[in-house]
Symmetry: C2
Subunit: 227 residues, 2 copies
Amino acid sequence: MLSMQNVTKTYEMHRQKVVALDDATLEIPEGDFVSLIGPSGSGKSSLLVMLGGMLSPTSGRVMLNDQSMYDLDADGRARMRKANIGFVFQTFNLIPYLSAQENVQVPLYLSGTAAAEQRERAAELLQRVGLGDRLDHKPNELSVGQQQRVALARMLANDPAVILADEPTGNLDPETSEQVIGYFEEFNREGRTIVMVTHSPAAAERAKRVLKLRDGKIIDDRASLQQ
Amino acid sequence: MLSMQNVTKTYEMHRQKVVALDDATLEIPEGDFVSLIGPSGSGKSSLLVMLGGMLSPTSGRVMLNDQSMYDLDADGRARMRKANIGFVFQTFNLIPYLSAQENVQVPLYLSGTAAAEQRERAAELLQRVGLGDRLDHKPNELSVGQQQRVALARMLANDPAVILADEPTGNLDPETSEQVIGYFEEFNREGRTIVMVTHSPAAAERAKRVLKLRDGKIIDDRASLQQ
Ligand SMILES: Nc1ncnc2c1ncn2[C@@H]1O[C@H](COP(=O)(O)OP(=O)(O)OP(=O)(O)O)[C@@H](O)[C@H]1O
Ligand SMILES: Nc1ncnc2c1ncn2[C@@H]1O[C@H](COP(=O)(O)OP(=O)(O)OP(=O)(O)O)[C@@H](O)[C@H]1O
Ligand SMILES: [Mg+2]
Ligand SMILES: [Mg+2]
């Protein structure tokens, strides 16, 4: 359902060419649960963001449901993304002038949900991640781990078929991390496809499959230790 | 050398009063190495930022070398901070329009180092954290873990007597995390005082002493398991 065919991403810097992803080919069938690991700077976020239709490859193709994502125009790709993919960014990307509840309402608003239901669903999702008493706080009035949980709640809002999560537990304590990995296992059991970048070896083994990157190349693709 | 006396920090929100830190008293002797753990939202960043002279308590006092930090004016406090404390923020706070090297030069510039030596020392520090080939990259041209390492290099620039680090390995892979904890052990052996917020139980036990927060209160203060 999601695949990359010979995807390369390079950045031209004044003195050097930086290869963020180097000829990556991979296939993720519907219902898979993949963790993506590798050293800092190895290309994980680049891979995830390209898989999510948000960064065009320098060469190669990214397919979602047999549609080549970057052969669509920006609007077509955005529509495809909104309909199918829930994203958790490594830096959350919350809207600073909106409250936690309003941030979670954004995707619901974009998918045409009625206002009253938007607020109710956003409140439920925030309650679920332990932020029921922080609905009106703006991002800078929240701890970093709380901001991360708002980003998680927002990702869940439209019941996405595909979840792409970049370090979803990076700023969370062990108990909350466990809770979050538990949700992901639950979503996967419900049939959603999940790709999760993580630096936590323990979290990585909770997926079904582990992909390892180094210097922009996929150097390993194996079943997780719990399979 | 660093202490808090009955420090409370509250935020007045429209509908509620949020207690970020609740009557915290603690003493950190010179040369100590303290890790600070606790659930997301429990007050760790608030405590660290107040200890570093960057957020005034609602009540209580913070002492550095017998000087009450918040009884100084903003300039006096800033001078005291620059002379004594190296800080690693949970969100790095790099200057977006400066390169990695220029970001690390900033504290050297502020402490009156000559320009050529600024550049040289910044390059060495970045080399040390594995970013020797990323000197000219701006923060948005770096991976998140690389941005974190720039923040670490910047913290080291003025050879600080006190290191306050908020999640210094939060976005780093296991190998780089190990390297960073290794530096902190080294700095501590050199006589620097370290307070490190971390969500990693393993990293926490590499300190000498572990403080635990919950709901803004210090609920535990013990020797680390490796002592
Ligand atoms: N400007 C603010 N206005 C209102 N509440 C705030 C503000 N800043 C922080 N808080 C609240 O204070 C509490 C403590 O925040 P703090 O950032 O210190 O937590 P933390 O322990 O560092 O959490 P994390 O592990 O998620 O980084 C949180 O519940 C947060 O919602
Ligand atoms: N806009 C850019 N311009 C130049 N180089 C870039 C840019 N964005 C990323 N890079 C480089 O591409 C490489 C891959 O970056 P990426 O963010 O994908 O790494 P990552 O595996 O997610 O790392 P981390 O674990 O630190 O988050 C890095 O070496 C980085 O310096
Ligand atoms: Mg990344
Ligand atoms: Mg914090």
